[in-house]
Amino acid sequence: MNAFETLLDLEKNCKAHAVNLPRQIISERNGFGISFKASGFHFVCAMDQVSEVLKWPSFTELPSSRSWFRGAANLRGRLLPISDLQGFVSGIPHQAGMNSRVLVIPFKSYLYGFAVEQVLGIEHFFKDEKKSATEIPDIGAYLPYAKEAFEHAEQPWILFDFEAVFANPNFYHVLSSRMELGH
């Protein structure tokens, strides 16, 4: 045989012995997003809501601000106000740990930073994993921000809606009542 025929033969052999790809259960994907933890819950939020994830930057505190408002940081020359997500929603401030991160969320041409307990990565969800947010035990204060919920990898997951935060008028009252110098 010449070289070419040898190659053809080789190819025939390979194909004969190839293991087929396992048949995928193509369940409809419901989407994916950035997953993070806060108040012990597992959250995910849409990819297009988050522009970046930061390690805790140094920030300047605002005197007499509410406990959930941590301060303003310098993000490559732009101001980034940082709020404690857990503190804002549940009223219980988040104790910063080594894994704490800040999610940078752009909204209407401004940037907002939200500190969370931990950022896990990117998570994918399937339509058949959907469930009702009210089914999640102790969801409490997070319910208004829960767009959807999933049961995935034996964990309840909540799809967090940042738009609900921006729609909440309390988000814009950063000074404590004693010092409300504008209103």
């Binding site: 805790w56 140094s58 920030f59 300047t60 505190e61 605002l62 005197p63 007499s64 406990s67 408002f69 301060g71 303003a72 940081a73 310098n74 020359g77 732009r78 101001l79 106000p81 009223g91 219980i92 401030p93 104790q95 910063a96 080594m98 704490s100 209407k108 401004y110 940037l111 907002y112 988000f171 814009y172 009252h173 950063v174 000074l175 404590s176 009542s177 004693r178 010092m179 409300e180 110098l181 504008g182 209103h183």
Partner: protein, 695 residues
Amino acid sequence: MKPQSQSLLLIFLEEAKDLADAIATLTQQWHSDLQKKDSLVEIKRNLHTLKGGSRMVNQTELSTLAHELESLCETILIDENEKNNRNYYDLFCQGQDQMVTIIDALCAGPPVEKIEKKHNDSPNDLMRVRADLLEKLNELSIENNIMRLNLSHHVARFNAQVLEMIHITKSLQEKMRLIPKDADFRITSEIMSLINLCKGLTQLHVNIEGLLSLQSRVELELQDRLVDTRMIPFSHILPRLAHIARQVAAELNKKIDFTVAQAEGEIDRNLLEHMIPSLEHLLRNAIDHGIETPIVRSQLKKPELGKIEVRFFRQGNEACIAMSDDGAGLNLEAIRKKALTLGLISENAHLSEESISRFIFEPGFSTREVVNQISGRGLGMDIVNTVVKGFGGNISIESKKSLGTKFTIRLPFTTSMNRALLVMVQEQTYGILLSHVERVVLLNVKQIKESLNQASPFFYFENKEYHLRYLGSILGLREKPIFFGQKETLPILLFDFADYKAALLVDSLSGSQEVVVQTLGPQFKLIDAFGGATLLADGRVVLILDVYSMMMKGVNKSIEDAPVKSLERPVPMIMVVDDSITVRTVTKNFLERYRYKVVTAKDGVEALEKVQQLKPDLMLLDLEMPRADGFEVAEKLRDTPEFSKIPIIMITFCVGDKQRAKAKELQIDCFIKKPYQEPELLDIIQNLLEKNKGS
């Protein structure tokens, strides 16, 4: 319309606007002395030109009107009966108003700006440039500025690093001398190389700074020129205001005399355009609420014509617009009542007249029972305030019952670049725009203590009385400043706002620098006190304080001090003592992230002073420090019964046996080697604080 006639119309409209403006100015001139009719000759000439031009573009309505007005001018010029002058003036103005209305209606399409060469080389040396193009150029220039600032920030940081490098290298050199002579000479020569490198870097830095400084000069000039292209004289707005004044007065049956006392100077066209609605609103208010009806006025023996006066002038770095009327003045009683109803003040609140009058800037505040089309909708004044603040300016009120009211709007001249004074209060830096500061004085501590002990502290300087307040107290941080043993004086910043004079006491001054004020975003829209934030050379975010709002609102709210409900435990305070600024900053940032309150000291002596006043819960001590090292500090602390139990963590480079023994002797709780591991240090701090809480 054919394209050719369209462009012809545009050219005509440019000319028409100029003519209308000229006529308006001349009319004002005539108004100042109705007997002198010289201006009328000029007016007639302008009207004639206008008539000709409008006929060319087939604008018959306009040409007919111009013709009628021309005839009127002739009649006025001939008539020698002085008694008719006033009526002629009114009649003429009506016609002029109509003319302006027609021209305005014809002007549609994108506005075109002219760049006029100053100092009139030749009046025809003009160019038409699209307004949005100029806007873009200005934006680019500002961006350029920001980038240059960023660059210079980095250069400053670079220099700081180099300085530290030199410091360490010198210290290394010192240590080398202690090693026996037969040590490796290669080390010595490497140290020498290091030193040479440092010298090289220092030289590079000097060069870069020089280049940046040159660039900054070019940049500033570019900005200035660009700003110039957008300047228009204040007087441009007068015809419009006069027009509105007449309209409103007619609608309300009020007799007014609108005068312009002063209109010198120029202002950014953009700024003026945005201010027009606000000025209109103030004018309407003055005519509607301020000036009384003719009957009332004659009862009060006031002149028949209500006087409304507008002044434009420049004061330092600011453009000022003052509008005053000789009407009834603000009804302070009604305002007070309304504020009470709205729950903004408490029943027995003691407020100055100035503070009460400022309530009209609250949204939804109108003391008029009947809301009419002109004003009284209660929506206007707060928007005026917001607009003015949006430009970084302020608005002040002076009002006297039955004598009248005066509003003064102050706007910064240049919109974005400014010089800010950096002040320190409670270890935090804040910025205050220099253009607002009248003067800085140093006052000795004894006098400060005496003044602050009074119920309503005042500071007197050059025959003026200033309200004295400590910035820390306004910000809710601390009632009175900490008086350190060594310091003899503290800085006081003086502010002269027309209706309020303030003296602001701070802990120390931290220099000044050019800043680009960035807005803090919608979360801060409701807060008057912070006018934005800026970035320092080292990248830190510094809040810019709007002193005027802070002092005024602070005064308003001093009664409404509901105790703050705190869900958290009190925050532990840690003192970090280290002679290296890098170490202090890094440690402070890291600890603040974990919600500890941090204070710093740069050597042992400062540490001991601060401990007395601040009483920290834990100390992080460096060992090697000038003036008093870590051991000395620890010894002094242990000797003082009040502080003998403070947990001390010593962080240092050398952890030899001798040091450890001494540490144990002084009951230093923990001895860590630099560089420390963050989680490890955090754990130790937490444990020590827990343990101490128990004791």
